[in-house]
Symmetry: D2
């Protein structure tokens, strides 16, 4: 556990607070029992009330966005675009004592999981090393990490559906995955594919077999099953809903249904947010929570798995807070017992 | 009936063919038995296939957008933005023999319902006069008109709910209207209020008591009931669907239920698209058709009316074709017996 | 404050735990810091896990529905249908020491706000008197109440939009209200108007001027403004979303915009869930929270008010917990700082 | 071409006219230039106007449902449930001169594609033989058929995505299919999975690898490629929209992208409703039309195909009319040039 700068509470700063992941982080942190928000940085919204952008927070907080920030914090959340996180850290040398949780993809791949720069304190370059922040994969390493690379949304959903197999060296055939994401997965910017008139009642496929999260996924599977060399065929869909990812996956397997369920259940024992079932699941069961549900069934010689989670929570800001909790020795579920929207 | 330039078919040109009303017009005209499409003008899409923009038309037509146009047509549809229709006509002097059907608001108000300009043929200024193209109000005038100002979507829906009262001088108390429109009413441009993430499952109010269509509405009501001077309170809502407008309206009335229903039924007798009922109606009944359904009931001393129609069809391009049919002596319903989407 | 049977926690029993309001209550109570759930009664689901019905609660609780109940509780929530609450209490004589919070309409009207019956303890009839549980109207009375009649969903939304006017005797003209509710307002039973194929992308009107909640509303308005005798015209709509109510209301008013905003702001000062603004609001801002947002504006001589809230939370189970908090001297917001779904 | 009983028009009778496929058939037939509707049978709605059930048809037709039917027709559409079509024909011996188009699955499989019964005319048993009515597979046989077994909705969508490969004996590896259907695919009856509150914004998987349409699909693929023996893995999803099916499919293939596109384009040349493209497609492009769009691309060694169509039109009633057109020598597209809803 880390000594905290601000007494009993973790002092948190947020860079990029006006986007979706920044807003979602704020929705969690304003009610987190062990966090004090030090600043919420936004270039475009400096001086505005938080609730002018995240309008649902009206009545919950009178915090404002700032155009400045300071180093007197325990943790820095980076909620900026891909590529911008690395640039920000290079240009803004926070002291090494400040832990960084980055929600972009900049530090997720092991060969890019560090950054070196001069700090203001001295001329010795500081090197920040990032741990891939998937608690169901790296919980012990996260607890003692200096910095966290928060996983991607599809990456989280798909890994949680496959990790138990890799951990038991049973990923021995081609994997077939189709997964559909809500519109918040595409962020706040206006685009033809996020126009209501187009997207309502519509489904479409994109980045067939080429989604950028496949790299993270293979990295984690190989971490557990060193000889893993099977193809992972992944078809992403744009869904006509705002939140959530549902992934269906299958592969040939020698495991019986009972063996598979036991293997999954054992793997996730002690992990408070990921739950295994043989009941039918549907996307909305986990929307607005930090949970992931995994349904396991055997059909013929195929193991069939469904994984569902909220892309902005377990797939982004919720998992970031989960990582923060682990980093600072808090209860893993602190601030994350969220009421599901359910309907 | 007008002699046609192209033999048996009306030759039609379209300006602004890449927008929503242009696309909807094309969807109708490609199957219209008495129309030949001469050109579909679009500055931004010149040279592209129609189906590259209106992707559902793939397989139905190999027409392309053009950057040019010619005068060898019978009718010109203007599907450009408000203000641009007047500018276009001033800058592009089509001969007077070409009838113009303008879908913008530029010529809807009687005091602005004309434009004068020099034609290429001679130096005498040509004056185009526009008839307000609501067949249920002006059918006979439309048949002999030179040019048509096609009504607004809310304006059509609300007028059809009130015209029979005005025609009988029974609009003698304040009118209260709430109406909700689909997202296509806001056009193709990307905006915060048409972002799927925002609009899905959402409702919001805008332009309270100030909607620009109120002017058209008052003009028509006064045309029928000269002494009409009551307030018309109109609250527009943005709906979380793509097509359709549902309006509920009420006012104090001395009419009995039977008298009111008879008055509405009589008024719309012979009008093929507007139908009166005492059954409960719901928005989707008319989506993707040119029809308007009107439900009439009496509750206490109040007359309560619901009016539903498709904003892009009866509220825009469908009505434009209906006007074209009347202008050229075709069957009023030609090309407009559209299959409802129903669900 | 009431001495609690179970030590530091309020022991709660729930009757009718398998419906929407029962489920929503459970979603709150499983994370409430000062509540212990004693039993969740359901005839149809006795013996089943809670999460077999409220599937989102999988992983959160291993509680089961019971077919029985006991008297060793502090508070009983009745989540049964209209009419069934009164019957249940008559047939199941809980001791007077158990406070009842009834979510049905059975005890909302002052002339029906009590029930007398024999308890098992003695032959003296017990009389339960119910306070109308709208904290923004009756907070002090609620704190010392024995039993609570929880308000209806539309009733809450509409009252919160009008109470400040009544409290200042400024409800002096006819009121015009249109309000749209999500599908959960119609409960769990299958019906033609809750069939997805019908309701998706659809809007419809029902119970014009006749909604049963008007009685509650008039009762509260008259409680504050004794001479209130104006018509309240209320048009309910069925919306194509699951959660939330948005109401727009207007009336003639002599108040200036500033006076109106001040009047509303003053009235709700100190009420933690109801917030007044002059910014534009939209339905989703409050979905999955216990909050109500009220937008106030003046247009000409009309005061125009929008009120939004979640029908299942502030309009039902959230308000029930708010009432429980007040009844037992807990923080009014305990367990109710809910993360908005926001999108 | 068949001599028609009613002069120039095909006289059509409908059994089961009150369901979704019956309604959709009526929406087409009321505007079909060469059809006269003889009767629309419905036990539950006899005597009611068509528009009391199919409410969008108000204003289009004054036809009523009947509880009786007669033999003086050219074609009988059976829009009843699976199993009921066979029972109906056995119990109601229409003369052999009446062609039957059955929309159920009762006669789709070759080993069950006939029925024998005694007619009222004589004691010789009549045998009706059914041709599987997928025009893109069996057009010539359909033209001379006596009776048609109209394909299933998923079956049509998936076959159209795979037939060109089978026709060229290039279906030589396992096939992986995920397809999502709208709620109308589940019919009119109320069910938990068609409840708006549950289905809105939700996705779920059902009948994994076990969907009943797989039998039809394999039958057709084997008809074209006799040695076809590969696994077809099909994962059906329930979508949160009302109309349409989108299927994504892939398999290992030696074909180049160009070869594949040519093979598909050649196969569908001359078929007026099925169109091949290399552009990205999305579900809504075909909603409310009888068209099927097929996108073909090659990714690595995999051929990736997307197929979209409207489950109620090309997947049911539209295809039934297409079959009727072929049976009676009409233009294949007669009555089926439907305006897409597009948005």
């Amino acid at each position: 556990m880390v000594p905290l700068s601000g007494g009993n509470k973790v002092k948190a700063g947020i860079i990029g607070g006006a986007g979706y992941t920044g807003g979602e982080l704020l929705r969690i942190l304003v009610n987190h029992p062990s966090v004090e928000i030090a600043f919420i940085h936004s270039n475009s919204n400096a001086g505005n009330y938080i609730y002018e952008v995240h309008t649902d927070l009206f009545g919950d907080t009178d915090l404002k966005f700032t155009g400045e920030y300071n180093f007197n914090i325990d943790v820095l959340f980076l909620c900026v675009g891909h590529g911008d996180a690395r640039k920000f850290l290079a240009a803004n040398p926070f002291p090494a004592s400040v832990k960084v949780i980055d929600l972009s993809q900049d530090f997720r791949h092991s060969e890019k999981a560090s950054i070196s720069y001069d700090t203001t304190q001295n001329s010795q370059p500081t090197t920040r090393n990032f741990i891939y922040g998937l608690p169901e994969l790296n919980r012990e390493a996260i607890k003692t990490a200096d910095n966290i690379a928060n996983p991607g949304c599809f990456a989280t959903c798909l890994q949680l559906g496959l990790l138990p197999l890799a951990a038991n060296n049973t990923l021995n055939s081609e994997v077939h995955i189709t997964a559909t994401t809500g519109s918040t997965g595409a962020g706040q910017s206006l685009a033809a594919t996020s126009h209501f008139t187009w997207r309502n009642d519509n489904l479409s496929v994109y980045k067939v077999f080429d989604h950028q999260h496949l790299t993270e996924i293979r990295q984690s599977l190989t971490q557990l099953q060193h000889n893993f060399d099977q193809e992972v065929n992944f078809i992403p869909y744009r869904g006509d809903f705002t939140r959530g990812i549902i992934a269906s996956m299958y592969l040939n397997s020698d495991l019986s249904a009972e063996e598979a369920v036991k293997l999954y259940t054992d793997y996730y024992a002690g992990h408070p947010f990921t739950h295994v079932t043989t009941r039918n699941i549907d996307l909305k069961q986990i929307v607005n929570t930090n949970k992931c549900f995994i349904q396991v069934q055997k059909k013929g010689n195929k193991l069939f798995i469904i994984s569902i989670m909220d892309n902005l929570l377990k797939g982004a800001s919720g998992q970031a807070v989960q990582n923060m909790n682990l980093l600072f020795g808090l209860e893993e579920t602190a601030g994350l017992k969220l009421k599901a929207v359910a309907f």
